[in-house]
């Protein structure tokens, strides 16, 4: 999923304070799962903003609404009946959701209430960790199902570096050394010969190296 974290309240207040009516929009997808911008967080933020602004002698009307999926124009249409009553939109979705709203309602200022962080998985209750950087050319088959691009601090495709210590990364003892994990997995799978083969220099065009990426499915596209 895409993970996110709420921005500091102070920063959000600075965005919405100039407006009288704000539409606060959550999303039922990823940000709900990582407890950053679902219905509940929308409620918490609305309540917190009310109280914080009240103390500044300001009264901003905040309307709450949570969409099924904020990155999908079809669902964003749901805001049509609410948008006219708002001077600005505050979005608790990831950056994709914020931009979908901005693209749909050209004359409404849209502010992000969360910082979109990374594509991650849940390690345990309440803990999410980065697992994928969307490089566009998946290596996981060669690396025992552990991504060196997302999980090695130096993105080494032929690691580990000299800083790997007792299974931890040199940058932080709480961060696993991705190459230790890869090696352990290759051993468990009986695939240690995979390691000997050098992974060649990456073609970053499938990743961030080639400008904004797009997928077009001819059979589905209208």
């Amino acid at each position: 999923m895409i993970t996110a974290e709420r921005k500091p309240l102070e920063e959000i207040i600075a965005c919405v304070a100039p407006f009288r009516k704000v539409l606060l929009v959550g999303c039922n997808e990823c940000v709900t799962v990582c407890a950053a911008g679902g219905r509940k967080e929308v409620g918490l933020l609305a309540s917190g903003l009310h109280m914080a602004l009240l103390q500044q002698g300001k009264s901003v009307e905040i309307r709450e609404h949570t969409l099924e999926r904020q990155c999908d124009p079809e669902y964003v249409e749901e805001l049509n009946s609410l948008i006219d009553g708002a001077d600005a939109v505050l979005s608790m979705a990831c950056g994709c959701g914020v931009q979908t709203i901005a693209g749909r309602y050209k004359d409404k200022p849209v502010f992000p209430a969360v910082n979109t962080k990374f594509m991650g998985a849940s390690e345990r209750q309440g803990v999410w960790a980065e697992r994928c950087q969307g490089c566009g050319n998946c290596l996981l088959g060669q690396t025992g199902g552990i991504c060196p691009i997302a999980r090695c601090a130096k993105r080494l495709m032929n690691g580990p570096c000299g800083g790997s210590t007792k299974g931890s990364c040199e940058i932080d003892p709480d961060t696993d050394c991705a190459w230790q994990l890869i090696w352990d997995r290759l051993k468990a799978l009986g695939l240690t010969e995979n390691y000997v083969e050098m992974i060649p220099a990456k073609d970053w065009r499938t990743s961030i190296g080639n400008g904004p990426r797009k997928i077009i499915r001819e059979d589905l596209a209208e």
Binding site: P8, L44, H50, M51, Q55
Partner: protein
Amino acid sequence: MENFEPVIVAFCCHYCAYTAADMAGTQRLTYPSNVKIIRVPCSCKVDALHLVKAFEKGADGVYVAGCLKGDCHFNNGNDRAASRVAYVKKYLEELGIESERLAMFRMSAGMGFQFAQTAKDMTEKIRELGPSPINVAKAQLKGEAA
């Protein structure tokens, strides 16, 4: 504000604090009427939103009372409630409310005396802190309007 009577909301677990309140009653122990009790099936049923909304709606203090460590009827609901209270305390600070206005207490069903004492202590503490900044702001706004 010299006649300030704080409004305190206490979310009490059915299996412990709520029964302890009953016990205080049968033992004829008095506790301040400032404390409004809300019975919950487990302290962890209290959501962050309930705590925050309580302040928004006018509470000067809020507390959650759950079972003693290891005694939760649902395994570890009381511990979850404690971490949630800690989380909301930080949020309160962020939005300008002193975090001491929110607390977590633990007690058993038989601790009627402790229930009454906790209610007294919390009321005294909030009385000292004064009205919540939200209530102050609301009063100010009303005064300006009038």
